[in-house]
Assembly symmetry: C2
């Protein structure tokens, strides 16, 4: 709400927390604890509805949207996209839905944890699955750009595989490292930078880590298997030949490539033109990002 | 040299690098590229000799110490203690040697990377293996305290097991994470904090990572096996029951314990009194540290 209003957009919101809504109102925002009231306004205005709730709250929210504001453009900010897509499909709202995932945040939650600059210069993934409607996609793109994020177009399944790799796998590795160290006398006494960095995310609330890993199990299992295979191979080479050269060389090269990753601007794609979904998915896969609004094909043309 | 001189100690040094020695001299330090000249002075003065070379350079250095300054108290700052102990034993210098490992540093090397405050408030492990001489141990303890570190007493094998856990294992996990991500399209494009932290040490020069892991293979293999067992069990539970609860709960609990680790002062031990080696090793194992010099038993008493 803060970021969208800072861009000059009219915004209003619902939250089930009385304290949250009061805090938002105190800061001058238009907020209510009445869900159907907010959704009725959205339906009257044709507003973009942004769902920002954890997975377990989604079915109830979607049922209200379906009942009160089924024609509004609909997006979300949940960190897993495939499971959300299934819920939206089950609720019969697929044709107005485009999934989203702003890759930013803090360790805190609630109204006071927000910040109008939270999205500035960060990636905001917007799903380009086959079903998505060009007009809705463009609305969500414009919202993300107004919040000063850059847009990464991606298919939901590819997003989830990448998220499993760069977010969920690191959490499991951190938990394993912390647990192992907890069994070794002297380890905590000597721990320094590499342990602190390597276990930082193990300080995350366990229920949050479980929720993200378990909701994405289908994509997490194959990447966990690859990491296990790499470590098992390194273990054998260390035991038999006294060498970890293969893993260390590959890991260093990958990290160096990551440090030098570039984000070329995606230009020239017309949203809604033939093959636009696959064109954007391919561009996103290649590291491309959208920094200024792409044109939309005139649907009446 | 900077830290010891800042404490008011007379210092002089040797380095094989002409540039390094010239830079030290430019900064007003007493340094030479002539090893035997430095060791002859050390022998005349009974100075504490601090070896600060990588493992492969150690045998040559020890041969010179043996030939020129065999009676000087001798210590080192190498990150692996068991392998150093074997080299020192092979060189016949065990009775004047006490291993050390200051747990600090930067990613850079050479004279210009140094800093008189490098050791302030950081752990400096000093070995309390059965062979160590009380007088030499006290000399090394005093050096570490003069450099404003606190001392963690530890047996060489226990140090190496802990270092495998909190330093070498995190490196291998980081390499595996970076490598896995390098194979997943979109991963680098979406990578944020948890990936950046989890792979930071994969940016370390591969030859340094290899040197530390391979020199400590005997201690690294069992902790790598434990991490593999934890991850494999989590993989099975995720695949069969959709849950990572066990690993996540254990990892979080361990990380919370690490965050609240205390470092009680070791007091009351008299260096050289009966059972002092085991008393200090036990105190270090329990998290204890030496912040002010312990008394030494009068060896003539």
């Amino acid at each position: 709400m803060r970021a969208a209003r800072a861009a000059g957009r009219p915004v209003f919101g619902y939250n089930r927390s009385v304290e949250g809504v009061e805090a938002a109102r105190f800061d001058g925002y238009d907020a209510t604890t009445h869900l159907d009231e907010a959704l009725t306004r959205a339906a009257d205005l044709g507003a973009v509805v942004v769902l920002a709730v954890p997975m377990p709250a989604l079915p109830t929210m979607l049922a209200h949207v379906r009942a009160v504001a089924p024609q509004c453009p609909l997006t979300d900010v949940t960190s897993v996209k495939g499971a959300v897509l299934e819920e939206v499909r089950a609720a019969g709202l697929l044709d107005r839905f485009v999934g989203g995932h702003p890759m930013t945040g803090t360790a805190h939650s609630g109204w006071t944890a927000g910040d109008a600059d939270l999205f500035v210069g960060t990636p905001w993934v917007i799903s380009v699955d086959d079903h998505v409607d060009p007009q809705v996609w463009a609305e969500v793109m414009t919202l993300a750009l107004d919040c000063r994020a850059f847009v990464v177009p991606a298919r939901s399944d590819e997003h989830d595989r990448a998220a499993a790799t760069i977010s969920h796998l690191p959490h499991l590795l951190a938990e394993a490292l912390a647990t192992t160290a907890g069994h070794v006398p002297l380890a905590f006494a000597l721990a320094a930078g590499s342990f602190r960095d390597g276990t930082r995310v193990a300080a995350t609330a366990p229920e949050l880590v479980r929720a993200m890993c378990e909701a994405n199990a289908g994509e997490l299992l194959p990447v966990l298997d690859e990491a296990l295979a790499l470590l098992t191979r390194a273990r054998e080479q260390l035991a038999q030949h006294g060498s970890v050269a293969e893993l260390v060389t590959a890991g260093h090269a990958a990290r160096v490539r990551y440090d030098s990753v570039s984000r070329p601007d995606i230009v020239g794609t017309v949203i809604g033109a033939a093959g636009w979904h696959e064109e954007l998915a391919a561009a996103g896969r290649a590291g491309g990002v959208i920094r200024s609004a792409l044109p939309i094909r005139d649907s009446r043309g």
